[in-house]
């Protein structure tokens, strides 16, 4: 994990936000930067005026206070100008919102390269993979607690990913409400019992850049038995963000974003195990 942790805090700081590795995350961060500057300017102006007035109009017996009971012009100005800015901010963010959350919106992805199911419970995430046949509810499905591994197509040796590698998670809960929070992907969605929520992301950075911390190419698998992949320490962290009981703050999951060939080798090993179990049992 060391590498990811270091990156989290040293590099790519955008005004206290952790680095972002998802495609829609950039749009979210852009909204933040806009709001940040708009509110900072407002803050400095308002506090500045207040401090100035406090100094300028401090009690002075030689003077009488000026009787000013209001001003229509000012009221209109300071209602209309913020209104315009705020509405513009709202309108600017509707598209991003629809793209991330609204599955009936045209900008919502139509295709998902990878699908998994996650069922949350006190205090673990049960991740179900569809196996080699890519279909759920078949014998080669396998379930792993607290491990989310997803494949990507690499663009270069530095861990950057080709565009459009959409992962879909079908999220549910067995007991209480939990919330799937992936800080570096700007993902958060409550896991609600009795309801299946869809979450998607498009991660643009692999968690791993080679066995010796150097380069990695897309056709390398490193492992036939899937072990190496699991041994890689580097991972993004996934947290639970909705109070779910006494173990809430320990409900951690790892996300590993790895080259497709390696991932497929690993899925095959796991799927075969599952099939063997199904036949044997």
């Amino acid at each position: 994990m060391q590498q990811v942790r270091a990156e989290h805090f040293d590099a790519a700081w955008k005004w206290w936000l952790p680095p972002n590795h998802s495609s829609f995350g950039e749009e979210i961060d852009l909204m933040y930067i806009w709001i940040f500057w708009i509110t900072m300017v407002t803050f400095v102006v308002v506090e500045g005026v207040m401090v100035y007035f406090c100094f300028k109009y401090r009690r002075n017996p030689a003077r009488k206070a000026t009787y000013i009971a209001g001003s229509h012009k000012l009221e209109v100005a300071w209602t209309v100008i913020p209104a315009i800015i705020l509405v513009a901010l709202g309108v600017a963010s509707t598209n991003t919102w629809a793209k991330i959350k609204n599955s009936s919106d045209p900008s919502y992805p139509q295709e998902f390269q990878t699908e998994v199911k996650i069922a949350a419970q006190q205090f673990a995430w049960n991740v179900t993979y569809p196996g080699t046949d890519r279909k759920f509810d078949t014998a080669d499905d396998f379930m792993l607690p607290n491990i989310l591994n997803v494949p990507v197509e690499l663009k270069d040796g530095a861990g950057n990913v080709t565009s459009e590698e959409n992962v879909r998670i079908m999220l549910s809960s067995k007991d209480v409400i939990h919330s799937l929070f992936i800080p570096v992907l700007r993902v958060k969605q409550d896991a609600v019992p009795g309801y299946i929520g869809n979450v998607w992301f498009d991660c643009d950075r692999a968690t791993y850049a080679g066995p010796d911390g150097k380069h990695l190419t897309g056709d390398q698998t490193y492992s036939e038995d899937g072990k190496t992949l699991l041994d890689w320490e580097e991972a993004y962290e996934i947290a639970c963000a909705e109070l779910c009981g006494l173990g809430h703050s320990g409900m951690r999951m790892q996300l590993k974003v790895v080259p497709r060939a390696a991932w497929e080798a690993w899925v095959k090993v796991k799927s075969d195990e599952a099939k063997k179990r199904a036949e044997g049992g």
């Binding site: 829609f24 709001i35 406090c54 000026t66 000012l74 901010l89 958060k188 929520g197």
Partner: protein, 672 residues
């Protein structure tokens, strides 16, 4: 209002009643006098403020000193350099133990701190007062502490002190009314609230398995809706306590609305009411419409827990490996809709009265009329109206239909507008004034400057896409404390320092008040400002420990800093407590009934006001409540209860500093 209707205007209130001298119990305990009830609320709420504050310190303690410290990367590297590897290295990591119990108290309450090696060797340390968990606070305590901290502060401090203490004490006096419209209902409302207090406090002690309610003040089911270790008997009492508190609110708000509509003094039109009373009026309407919804939600939750219904529990729910028998057909998110339909208006119930108080305080202490009095009233009304259509902004990530999310985003953005308008009008009120930095004014300015931060952080969260990232992180915690602590609580302090002389016939010490302000102001920013930063780093709220996450390790230092600032903040309140209590017996006596030269009606009567509020007739209001520094006025201010004396000799009445009774020599109109 029977009490005054019978009273001949000139004969004085008591003569009208002709009741015998009241027993101590009727006069001070089961009183129906709005001033006594207001003071009862004030004292009870200050006591609960201490309880809520101690719970907050427990929360901060756990957050900064959690168990499970891990070795740092440098430490691991050091071990590697020493030649450790493989199993030996793993063992070193597993045996690493640098948990720091909270200084002194940790071991006192939760037992002796032993090293992991000692524990593995089977040693047992000496137990502490609350148990033996190696000097560290257990998670159950933490969950109960943050749940009850919020519940106490919201239901037993901020709402009741604003509506119960200030509402009761100030409204009838500012209206020129002899009491509330329904004095008995008023007493009943206090005692119902007091029973809520007892039930909520009892929730700490009833649970054999746990130590109280621990599902958060929002108590989302199924966590709260099924009897389980996280939600045992304490949770049940919590629901009952909230219903009782709500019932009291409903009684109180009906009373305030009726009083304001019917019992205004002659001449006191709605638009001559001071903003404190306007705020109380609008708040009461919010309470009357919102609170019944909360009470029914609590009733439904109780039914789910104990009577086999399934309002909030869906099919197939599994708790600790076993199916929940009554689950089926319920909707988990339904709770959130109902809860926030109350609780969003509730956040305005917690801020509007403080906005009213702050407006009055700023006008008096800068000798200026309120800038934009009517826009102030309209913006409060707009906040109240819009407050009913924004509740979904708490549910952006809940799985609610995303199209609804867009709607709620727009309405939420709109609600920031009236808040901004109010801030600008406060600045306008300071503009050109004669500002005296008394404790009430300092707290009012503190309110304005810090409410700005809370309002601006609201804009970040109102933005649904960015809320994806900051929802349920410490950013929210920063927001709520900037609006509620550095906002509402500062407003409450401003009100206490401002009206104390009228309430108790004594002055508080200015010097102590200023020390209290500066310490509070500094420490509160030390506690709450860094929460924005850790929230932006993705630190989730309600986390007993950051230890399991690598990305949170870096915030340990900030957590410790915030915790010590919180301790400083708590200690600073001792200056207030001492000042408040000591001044009751030893404070300077005011030399006039209107020591601040204020214009609204509460300053026209004796100090403290007698039973019935005015000896003789109630005053008449001749103009608005903020005629300070009027250019045509002979005096520096023109009290509402006498016609303005003009420079050119027009107008009439006596000098504003003359005793108030003289003022009511204006022909008394039969009250109502």
């Amino acid at each position: 209002m029977s009490t005054t209707a019978a009273a001949p205007a000139t004969a004085g209130h008591d003569a009208g009643h002709a009741h015998p001298e009241l027993s101590f119990l009727r006069k001070w305990v089961f009183s129906t006098d709005h001033k006594v009830i207001g003071i009862q609320y004030l004292f009870s709420c200050i006591a609960m403020f201490l309880v809520g504050g101690l719970l907050a310190l427990m929360v901060r303690w756990q957050v900064a000193y959690p168990a499970g410290a891990k070795p740092s990367e440098e430490k691991v590297q050091e071990w590697r350099d020493q030649g450790l590897s493989g199993a030996a290295l793993n063992q070193a990591i597993a045996e690493f133990d640098e948990d720091k119990p909270f200084p002194i108290l940790g071991e006192l309450l939760w037992g002796e701190k032993l090293s992991k090696a000692d524990i593995n060797a089977g040693e047992v340390g000496e137990a502490g007062l609350f148990g033996n968990s190696n000097g560290m606070m257990p998670n159950e305590w933490y969950n109960v502490a943050f749940t009850m901290h919020a519940s106490v502060m919201i239901f037993l401090v901020i709402i009741p002190i604003l509506t119960g203490a200030f509402g009761n004490y100030v409204i009838p006096l500012q209206l020129g009314a002899k009491d509330m419209a329904f004095p008995f209902l008023n007493g009943l409302s206090y005692w119902t609230w007091f029973s809520a207090l007892l039930v909520l406090v009892a929730s700490f002690f009833v649970d054999p398995a746990g130590i109280g309610a621990g599902a958060g003040w929002t108590s989302y089911p199924p966590l709260s809706g099924v009897v389980s270790p996280s939600a045992g008997a304490g949770q049940t009492l919590w629901c009952i306590g909230v219903i009782l508190g709500g019932t009291s609110s409903i009684m109180g708000s009906m009373n305030y609305i009726t009083t304001i509509v019917n019992l205004r003094a002659p001449g006191l039109t709605l638009f001559r009411m001071p903003l404190t009373t306007w705020a109380a009026f609008i708040t009461s309407i919010l309470q009357l419409f919102a609170t019944p919804v909360l009470s029914s939600a609590m009733a439904m939750l109780l039914f789910d827990r104990h009577m086999g219904t399934s309002f909030f529990l869906p099919e197939g729910l599994i708790f600790s490996e076993a199916p929940v028998p009554n689950a089926g057909g319920g909707q988990v998110i339904l709770w959130q809709h109902i809860f926030w339909f109350y609780s969003h208006p509730a956040v305005y119930i917690m801020i509007l009265p403080a906005m009213g108080i702050v407006s009055d305080v700023i006008a008096v202490w800068s000798r200026k009329p309120i800038f934009g009095y009517r826009p102030m009233v309209f913006s409060m009304s707009a906040i109240a109206g819009l407050g009913f259509v924004v509740w979904g902004h708490h549910m952006f990530q809940s799985g609610m239909n995303p199209v609804l999310g867009t709607t709620f985003m727009i309405s939420t953005i709109m609600i920031a507008l009236p808040s901004a308008v109010k801030v600008f009008n406060w600045l306008g009120t300071l503009w050109g004034g004669q500002i005296t930095f008394s404790p009430p004014l300092l707290f009012a300015l503190g309110f304005v400057s810090m409410f700005v931060i809370g309002g601006l952080s609201g804009i970040y969260m109102a933005n649904a896409p960015f809320d994806i990232f900051i929802h349920d992180t410490y950013f929210i915690v920063a927001h709520i404390h900037y609006v509620l602590f550095t906002g509402s609580v500062m407003g409450i302090f401003a009100g206490i320092y401002h009206w104390y002389p009228k309430m108790f016939g004594r002055h508080m010490s200015d010097g102590l008040g200023k020390i209290h302000f500066w310490l509070t102001f500094s420490f509160m920013n030390g506690v709450f400002f860094p929460m924005h930063i850790i929230g932006l780093g993705g630190y989730p709220r309600r986390y007993a420990s950051f230890r399991s996450y690598d990305f949170l390790q870096t915030y340990e230092g900030m957590n410790v800093f915030m915790t010590w600032c919180a301790i400083g903040l708590g200690l600073s309140q001792l200056f207030f407590l001492w000042n408040f209590l000591w001044s009751l017996v030893a404070g300077k006596k005011p030399t006039s009934d209107n020591p601040w030269h204020a214009c609204s009606l509460e300053w026209s009567t004796q100090t403290p006001p007698p039973h019935g509020n005015w000896i003789g007739a109630v005053p008449t209001a001749y103009h608005g409540p903020y005629e300070y520094s009027h250019p045509n006025c002979k005096d520096e201010f023109a009290p509402q209860w006498m016609p303005m004396q003009r420079n050119d000799g027009g107008g009439g009445g006596a000098s504003p500093t003359a005793p108030a009774v003289a003022a009511s020599s204006a022909p008394p109109t039969a009250p109502h």
